[in-house]
């Protein structure tokens, strides 16, 4: 087994935004449980020694940690390529300059929509106007700049307008991320699931933008898996390429793995990352092929998609070892088809939506 290439560091679950599709678990880590600066610094050193190349600092909102500059500096000293995934909320021009000085390589700024009002009700807070200023400050530095847009039924109808707006911010990269249905997004799925005609239009809009922006802005976009024929190779396979560490220091194979019952995640406070990666039962659980069921066990695609996503299999079928139900060959594909059939197709008003969907809260300080 080879070592991971990337470390996703969820350094806090605190966040001023309340996005209805947040990828954090429903049970958020309290501020008091967070790893200390020196714990993270030790982990970055360990990760770099293991051959990890990329570090993704995420949250929650990573800016909520007062020691973010120190963390970036240590990551860079460990020679990790350091990416900050942020809403940008509360990031001043001065703090941005300090982060760049500490060695930040890449900043990934999230957008909810091109329109201020719509963006603010998706995020459950006022944040859009500040992001615009921030984007221009980012371009004053020689760091890579990605704008990230999470798309769903409520904002797909003006994807073209949003892309044209994002272009004006002059990012190096635009990432279009279809909502994935775990945690908060699963709770809000009936409001977020796109319609087939929205997806069809989105494909054309993205293809046109790719053509228009060739050589200027790279566009990365992935089809939502509910509408695909085969599942995604989630995280490049369980415990194969990526490791995630949550605010409390537990090492997980992915963002959502905590939903699978019976898995015990070891903590980087207690053991070096390399040992956890090598033999902790949670990482071993879905490595290899012996755990797979039919049709995966004998399917020739098993070495490409590793039977899809374990968390999705559990959340939708109750069995974490089942074939990912989005696969057209899965015995449980009917569940997905039913969800797609029963998903409403309406785009609703901001006020109606705000009263119905579940905003992600900010975790407590203790």
């Amino acid at each position: 087994m080879s070592n991971p290439l990337a470390l996703i560091a969820e350094i806090t679950h605190r966040c001023p935004l309340h996005c209805v599709y947040c990828s954090n678990p429903l049970e958020l880590a309290a501020a008091a449980s967070e790893l200390k600066t020196e714990d993270w610094q030790r982990v970055f050193e360990q990760a770099a020694r293991m051959g990890v190349l990329h570090l993704h600092l995420t949250g929650g909102e990573p800016l909520a940690r007062a020691d973010l500059e120190e963390l970036v500096a240590s990551a860079r000293q460990a020679r990790l390529y350091t990416n900050l995934i942020t809403s940008g909320l509360g990031l001043s021009r001065e703090r941005l300059a300090r982060l760049v000085e500490c060695g930040l390589d890449h900043i990934q700024l999230s957008f909810q929509d091109s329109d201020q009002t719509r963006a603010d009700w998706i995020a459950g807070t006022k944040s859009h106007a500040h992001k615009l200023k921030l984007a221009s400050w980012i371009r004053e530095h020689r760091i890579a700049f990605t704008t990230n847009l999470v798309v769903h039924r409520q904002n797909l109808d003006h994807l073209e307008e949003t892309l044209r707006f994002l272009e004006t911010l002059r990012p190096d990269r635009i990432e279009i991320a279809h909502t994935q249905y775990y945690g908060w997004a699963l709770k809000n799925r009936s409001f977020l699931m796109p319609t087939p005609s929205q997806l069809e239009t989105a494909l054309q809009v993205v293809a046109a933008a790719e053509q228009r922006l060739k050589g200027k802005i790279r566009i990365d976009s992935v089809l939502p898996d509910y509408h695909a024929k085969y599942p995604k190779a989630c995280m490049g396979g369980w415990g194969r390429r990526l490791v995630l560490i949550n605010p409390a220091g537990e090492a997980l194979p992915c963002h959502a793995a905590g939903v699978i019952p019976g898995l015990v995640f070891e903590n980087v406070r207690d053991r070096p990352l390399q040992s956890i990666w090598n033999d902790s039962p949670a990482f071993e659980k879905f490595r290899g092929e012996s755990w797979m069921q039919e049709p995966c066990r004998t399917c020739e695609r098993r070495t490409e998609d590793f039977a899809g996503c374990r968390c999705q299999a559990f959340l939708l079928t109750g069995d974490a070892a089942a074939t990912d139900p989005v696969c057209s060959l899965a015995p449980s594909r009917g569940l997905i088809d039913q969800t797609l059939r029963e998903s409403p197709s309406n785009v609703v008003s901001a006020a109606a939506l705000a009263s119905d969907w579940t905003y992600r809260p900010n975790p407590t300080r203790t």
Partner: protein, 90 residues
């Protein structure tokens, strides 16, 4: 975009080397590539100062006796591909 005689190629913003391993890696947002041989020779000359013809001259010295047209074709194809991936700017 086609590279021209006035182009001065340089690694794109947010793209840098990692030379910790035997083979140098080029790191960029969400990815990394191992670079070796001719590719490495070309990229090491992309400093934003040298023009494309100056890079070709140096390559010609390095690969003495190689067909100049072939060097030009290979180098432009290589750099144009990396430009499209936003790894090289010119």
């Amino acid at each position: 975009m086609a590279i021209t005689d006035t182009s001065k190629p340089i690694l794109a913003v947010g793209c840098r080397w990692n030379r910790e391993n035997e083979e140098p890696m080029l790191l960029f947002p969400e990815g990394a590539i191992k670079v070796q041989g001719t590719g490495l020779a070309i990229l090491e000359l992309c400093d934003g100062q040298r023009t494309f013809p100056q890079i070709l001259e140096e390559l010609q010295r390095l690969y003495f006796g190689a067909d100049p047209k072939r060097i030009r074709d290979d180098a432009s194809r290589f750099l144009e591909q990396l430009h499209e991936k936003r790894i090289v700017d010119f």
